[in-house]
Amino acid sequence: MFRFILSKLLYLVPTFLGITIIAFSFPRLLAGDPVLLMAGERGVTPERHAQLTAQLGYDKNIVLQYFDFVGRLLHGDFGHSLVTKKPVLSEFLALFPATIELGLVAILLATLIGVPIGVLAAIKRGSWFDQISMTGALVGFSMPIFWWGLLLIIFFSGYLGWTPVSGRISLMYYFPNVTGFMLIDSLLSGQKGAFASALHYLILPSVVLATIPLAVIARQTRSAMLEVMGEDYVRTARAKGMPPRRVIAVHALRNAMIPVITTIGLQIGVLLAGAILTETIFSWPGIGKWMIDSISRRDYPAVQSGLLLIAGVVMVVNLLVDLTYGLINPRIRNK
């Protein structure tokens, strides 16, 4: 097992190096110049421009800059944002909990609804429930979520007035930021109604973000269940007279869950991409929106380290999925 983990980790090293190259170089290929953007309509003299460029270290050889970048990374220094002048890492960490919270609630929603639907659809294969839910899943899978979000805002916030338009919690509540997760902080604060308010503000964004993963999970669960139920041991169990409910619970469900868990793990990329759109629509203060803003402001360090951190998170989650898979299935481990 240890060797398996080690080999996986070693395999990641070159990939991660590649990621640093992309994360470093892509933002630097962006047309435009942060110094000019800061100066705006006022203009900046060539001397001042050169001086500022030098101060930011952008006059050096680009290869040297790359090694500087990697060298600082090794010391845990992700650079300072050109716009806010603050450490990129602290900016990222300040916003990341908001994205995680939204993402976790969304994936929870997707799993808790998607898995039962998939199981039920598989059991009642061909029934009206199967047909309707799978059509619904396909609609969800095909949904342009940025439009879906707008529709929900118009209907639930605008027309019915049930849900707030944007934000993370009612401004009436104020408590210190302990974990950055509003649901947890609101509980810690002990203020009455704070948790409910945080939940209330989370509903629409998480529904929107959960739409596609929900559809994927429901479909995947159904097909995994169908496959497992066709396997010999399930048939045998059934033939032996085991009650159908027990067959499903003991054999089918457990085995079908392996690919489903993988699917859920693989949704992280989908979630992060979806977060960019969801956060934009709901003015949700997370890293998706931060990345878009940083790109348009040509905030090189923010974009570079942002890309790196996001890719790092994706990689770690994929690794965890891989390892779980290896744990469950020894054949992969020993290959």
């Binding site: 309509e41 003299t45 300040a94 916003l95 707030p164 944007s166 509540y173 203060p285």
Partner: protein, 534 residues
């Protein structure tokens, strides 16, 4: 779903009562942008100043609310030497600094703070100059303070003398700008001792009407009323900025009562806001100008007749109607009408295609083809440059001029438009910093800035015009300055380096029960005078 939401609403409504027992007045402002930081000096964005300089800090001089005139701030009075180079400021006594968990002031505001606040920006070797890596003092530099200020000296605890290298009339307006906010030296010392210098930018301490409480990045900023404020005390107890970048979402929140006031509504929503009984709308001509700058050093645009002819070919009113949807005033001068010394006697070039054709013929120009540069972004002075360019293109074609519309990425647009050999006329604009005409005319049209990298995109260098500006700048007498600027505007119109487009109107929608908000011609949002009726 339905049931769930209802019960949640009931829960939060209950909580709302529970949370506000003392009926503290909380004013919520749906701001547009996140502040870059809370130290005003390193930054340039208006949204940052609204969150830092205006609520938290004060300056030696201040802009009188709703005007661009100067009034005493932390300096109660001042004397200017005969030659206009020495300013002696008498400081206000008994001004209390804010306090927070890490800092309790032991003394009032005094001359040390003033010296500190200027020194750290002026002197690159000052221990607080680079208190954050890579910090620059852009406004201090672009207002030419490094060359202008010779020294800042403490005479006694409540007297400071600032010596300039030359007489400079706009100086008092310059130091009323956000970058010149006064920082507590004692707080800086405390932070330095604790080894947490960057907290100057994160946990600000000032003398202003509101005390900083907390900032949650990209989401909420909280302030509380400064009970010891030296000026008139604020009427609200708590001030909250709910950061909402999207104009449509801001309006939705305003309508839903989730905030009391918002900046920058979408032009398309103005009529609907006016019609909404729960809202009201303040409006004011903005301190800005949008223009089309010819390159006056390149033929045939070096010929004033050609420039005049093109100016007469373009239908300005059509642009104001179609692009600004009427929410702007057609511009005839390079400075806006709300600014002192605006010369209203000037006649704009008429829209007259026939005269334009004749003038082009007289200049010996036929079959002219040119570029019109349209910037890729929306700015306060120009909602849609592309559409403006399209309208110009059509008008110009009617006088036989073929125009091609060109655009670049914004950063590139800014730099390419500053290249001296540039072909083509550039759409751009300006928003005033300090309400002084010099801040428009010198920056945008003087010989000094008609260089590579300068903001004079017309590269128009007229000695007579520049001399007038120089005289006005060094003359402390407002009446005399006004006369000189009026004269400069006549010269500008004669020489037509620009096609002046429009001064866009600024709108501020708010809940109907909000009172006391004063629009600032400088575009600032300040809340010490606002109140909410129950």
């Amino acid at each position: 779903m339905k049931l769930l939401s209802r019960s949640l609403i009931a829960a939060s409504a209950l909580a709302l009562y529970a949370a506000a027992p003392a009926m503290a007045k909380t004013f919520i402002y749906c701001s547009e942008a996140s502040p870059e930081g809370f130290d005003p000096s390193p930054y340039t964005a208006g949204g940052t100043f609204d969150a830092s300089a205006h609520p938290i800090y004060n300056r030696l001089t201040e802009f009188k609310k709703g005007t661009t005139e100067i009034e005493p701030g932390l300096a109660e009075s001042w004397e200017v030497s005969e030659d206009g180079t020495e300013y002696t400021f008498r400081l206000r006594q008994g001004v209390k600094w804010h306090s927070n968990e890490k800092f309790t002031p032991t003394r009032d505001f005094n001359a040390d703070d003033v010296v500190f606040s200027f020194e750290r920006q002026a002197n690159a070797d000052h221990p607080w100059n680079q208190y954050i890596a890579g910090v620059t003092y852009e406004y201090f530099n672009s207002m030419d303070m490094p060359n202008l200020v010779k020294s800042v000296e403490k005479i006694d605890d409540y007297t400071v003398k600032i010596t300039l290298t030359q007489s400079e009339a706009p100086f008092l307006a310059n130091i009323a700008m956000p970058f010149a906010s006064i920082i507590s030296k004692e707080y800086a010392d405390t932070l330095e001792a604790a080894g947490t210098k960057e907290d100057l930018n994160n946990l600000p301490i000032g003398t202003g009407p509101f005390r900083f409480v907390a900032y949650q990045k990209d989401a909420v900023i909280r302030y509380a009323k400064n009970a010891d404020y030296w000026g008139p005390a604020p009427l609200i107890d708590d001030l909250v900025f709910a950061i909402t970048p999207d104009a449509a979402v801001r309006l939705q929140k305003l309508k839903a009562g989730e905030c009391h006031l918002m900046p920058y509504p979408a032009p398309a929503d103005i009529e609907a806001i006016k019609a909404d009984g729960n809202l009201k709308l303040d409006e004011q001509a903005g301190l800005n100008v949008g223009y089309l700058a010819y390159n006056t050093t390149v033929a045939p645009f070096d010929d004033v007749r050609v420039r005049k002819a093109l100016n007469m070919a373009i239908n300005k009113q059509a642009i104001v109607d179609a692009v600004f949807q009427g929410h702007a005033e057609p511009a005839k001068n390079p400075i806006p009408p709300t600014m002192w010394s605006y010369n209203d006697a000037i006649q704009d070039d008429p829209y007259d295609p026939e005269a334009s054709k004749a003038l082009l013929e007289e200049a010996g120009v036929s079959g002219l083809s040119m570029e019109i540069w349209a910037m890729p972004v929306q700015r306060p002075y120009m909602p849609n440059a592309r559409r403006t360019a399209e309208l110009m293109q059509e008008d110009l074609s009617k006088v036989g001029v073929k125009a091609e519309i060109v655009s670049y990425e914004w950063g590139e647009y800014l730099s390419k438009s500053m290249e001296t050999g540039r072909k083509g006329a550039v759409i751009l604009g300006w928003t005033g910093d300090n309400g002084d005409p010099d801040n428009f005319l010198s920056v945008l049209l003087s010989c000094a800035s008609a260089v590579e990298g300068g903001a004079n995109r017309a590269f128009w260098c007229n000695e007579e015009f520049s001399n007038l500006l120089q005289q006005a700048k060094t003359n402390p007498d407002p009446a005399e300055r006004t006369r000189l600027y009026e004269e400069a505007q006549v010269l500008f119109k004669e020489q037509a380096p620009w096609f002046t487009i429009a001064h866009s109107t600024q709108y501020v929608p708010m809940r109907a029960n909000v009172s006391g908000f004063v629009m600032s011609p400088l575009g600032d949002f300040t809340f010490e005078t606002v109140d909410i009726a129950e």
